[in-house]
């Protein structure tokens, strides 16, 4: 592991060690680039993870103050917790479930494919599926995605059996145990899945890919990585020419340091990334860094989501085994006959008893609620995840008064569902319920969105500088040595879980940055 000096202005500084930042760090180190990786959270390990939902949440989740506004239900149910993401080395790849899907071709060109939709700020990505295919292939290999690279699918658990039986009764054709970045066989020095069912709590076998125990140790082994946990970045700074030249961060004791940099890559997930750019406003960049388009923080997307749980006469024990290894993808097509643009996926999901109580119907009480909980053992569940449309007014902004412990304004996350999201959710609830009704459900429950696990779009990539924040390599239009390296880059959300795409973009970006560095373009 390297140990760079604060005034070493030859290093690339990466902010955030999750899917985007952790991957980028490794890919740059492999190419001989020196990297300082600043991560706000602590470093945990497969040993320190705990099989207990609330305890694990306290260990891993990002719990810094945030506010919410808008008409989305999350603002009412979880007003201080708009997103369920991590503050730890490895970022949300410690929490994630591992579902790893490629985007579909049409999803890169929604403005063209869907046409103008009222209230939606649609834009085509500046890249197509073709551009990304080679990187998807590398990401799938790196992450060990099942059903790619001759890796067998995971064995289905009880929750999957219910989904599969219902799906086939309904006539769905595309249902299997998913493309999961979870080892179904030992691979890459990591064990295979023991079906613990605590995928959201950090995988204790290491079967599930996480940058924490793949990318980061690989990067450390090159001798090029200087990982600094508990380093909370407050601001990015720039020189007179406008190029970024360092970042200010607070260490575990609250002491501030200025790390110089040749280039800065921001991968703090889609709430912290724009917050940081906005908090880095200066006399030169009065509206925040890289914000000449005014789009920093805007077009916040969180996917159309919801869950359906159903109770049966007989036990399911859905908590046993991999949390999300089950998918129906028949509804992921774009078919406006259903009354909305874009599509959605249906994926198995389960919550333990403690989280089920918290999420089944937030704020609920009384006999309807307790009856559902009484049937916990006989419950099956699925998560619905689909494309939501970018809207300028859905935005991460700086709170006008509230500050965090370092004196930086906290982010407010504003979101209103687009009518398209509402129509899609209604359809998805109906189809999800139909899957379970087809195999004799006693009752089905429409569960509202959890705090956002997928956060996208707040520094979107665009062909033209006026439409977005960064170009097709994630390089900001305004500042050529400043990069966006996480899900904030997404021009539109697509229906699929985003992480495989975030990782693929990071691999692609690393190539680009290495070239730019060696040609002295930055």
């Amino acid at each position: 592991m390297a140990n760079y000096k604060m005034n070493d202005n030859d290093v690339v500084v990466i902010i955030g060690s999750g899917a985007g930042g952790g991957t980028l760090a490794n890919e740059l180190c492999q190419q001989g680039v020196g990297v300082v990786l600043l991560e706000a959270g602590k470093r945990q390990s497969t040993k320190s993870f705990v099989n207990n939902e609330w305890e694990s949440f306290g260990q891993l989740a990002w719990l810094e103050p945030r506010t919410t506004s808008g008409s989305w239900r999350v603002a009412k149910d979880f007003s201080g917790l708009p997103a369920w993401i991590c503050k730890t080395v490895g970022g949300s790849t410690v929490h994630w479930a591992g579902a790893s899907l490629r985007l579909q071709e049409h999803e890169f060109h929604t403005k063209t494919e869907y046409g103008d939709i009222d209230g939606a700020n649609l834009l085509d990505w500046p890249i197509s599926l073709k551009d990304l295919e080679p990187y998807y292939a590398r990401a799938e290999d790196k992450m060990g995605v099942t059903r790619t690279n001759d890796i067998p699918g995971l064995p289905g658990n009880n929750n999957f059996k219910v989904m599969y039986a219902g799906a086939t009764k309904l006539g769905y054709k595309h249902c299997h145990t998913g493309r999961m970045a979870i080892n179904s066989r030992p691979r890459d020095g990591r064990a295979s899945c023991l079906q613990l069912g605590f995928c959201f709590q950090g995988c204790k076998t290491g079967a599930k890919w996480s940058t924490l125990y793949t990318e980061i140790p690989e990067a450390e082994a090159t001798g090029k990585l200087d990982l600094r946990p508990e380093s909370y970045v407050l601001q990015i700074q720039h020189d007179k020419s406008g190029k970024v030249n360092g970042v200010l961060y607070a260490d575990a004791n609250g002491e501030q340091h200025l790390q110089k940099a040749r280039a800065v890559c921001v991968a703090g997930n889609s709430i912290e990334t724009p917050r940081l750019l906005l908090n880095s406003a200066s006399s030169m960049y009065a509206d925040g860094m890289a914000n000449s388009s005014g789009q920093v923080g805007q077009n916040y997307m969180r996917h159309m989501t919801g869950s359906v749980y159903a109770t049966f006469d007989k036990p399911v024990s859905m908590w046993r085994g991999t949390t999300m290894a089950g998918i129906i993808s028949d509804e992921s097509v774009h078919d406006t006959k259903r009354g909305f643009a874009g599509g959605y996926e249906m994926e198995t999901v389960s919550l333990g008893l403690p989280f089920m109580a918290a999420f089944l119907d937030p704020g609920a009480w009384g006999s309807k609620f307790t009856e559902a909980m009484d049937n916990y053992r006989n419950m099956a569940g699925m998560w619905l995840v689909g494309e939501d449309l970018p809207q300028e007014s859905n935005a991460v902004t700086l709170h006008s008064e509230q500050k965090d412990q370092h004196g930086m304004p906290v982010p407010d996350v504003h979101f209103d569902d687009h009518p398209n999201d509402i129509a899609m959710r209604e359809h998805a609830y109906q189809q999800g319920s139909a899957v379970y009704d087809a195999v004799g459900a006693n009752k089905t429950y429409r569960v509202p969105p959890y705090p956002s696990t997928h956060n996208l779009g707040t520094c979107r990539m665009s062909k033209y500088a006026k439409d977005g924040v960064c170009n097709k390599y994630g390089q900001t239009h305004d500042i050529k040595n400043l990069f966006i390296s996480d899900g904030s880059q997404f021009t539109t959300s697509a229906a699929e879980n985003p992480t495989l795409t975030i990782v693929s973009l990071a691999i692609r970006q690393a190539e680009y940055i290495a070239k730019q560095l060696s040609s002295k373009a930055i």
Binding site: V50, N51, N52, E53, W54, P152, G153, L154, P155, G156, N157, N158, F160, K161, V162, Y164, A165, C175, H176, T177, S184, R185, S192, C193, L194, Q195, L196, G197, F198, K204, T205, K314, P315, V316, S317, W319, R320, G321, G352, L353, P354, M356, A357, A358, W365, G366, S367, F369, T370, M373, D374, Y376, R377, V439
Partner: protein
Amino acid sequence: MLENKLTRRDFIKSSGGAVIIGTLATSSVAISMLAPSNTWALELSKLDENTGKMILHVTRHIFPHKTLDDAVYALVVKDLDAAASADESVYKLLQNGITELNNSAGGDWMVLDTNKQFSLVEAMAGSDFFEKIRSTSIVSLYNNDMAWAHFGYEGPAWSKGGYINRGFQDLDWLPEPPDAASPLKA
């Protein structure tokens, strides 16, 4: 291991202070397997016995699991008692709520029949008092070994080797999916 934990954490022996004592219902089979004895006692550090008992009953009305033992509801009281000890405003909130409930009952809410009790609790829905109990319960009631045993949730799996050989595929009332959709385990 589990028994010791329960003895220490949940069935606190009296050493002065107010105490709520209960007996496990004979129907609480799953819980009785965890409990060191059939009687349990909860020592209160801040609330008085009557307030503690009333909160337990109010909680039963808010989350009416017919067969869930009082011993589990007592954990909500335990956490509220701790919150009241740590924060005087919580103490006042609870105390005032209990007073209000008794006043609305014309003296003693505990002596009313179940339906009347419920309608008075229902009338307080949305109040800070009600919300404090509801939001505490949503964690305390479902985040403990006894509740897990009652509802059939199996809790931590790592120490038991996961479910790979312990029934993750034991559902037998639906057809088995084909290998292409659900490959055999390694």
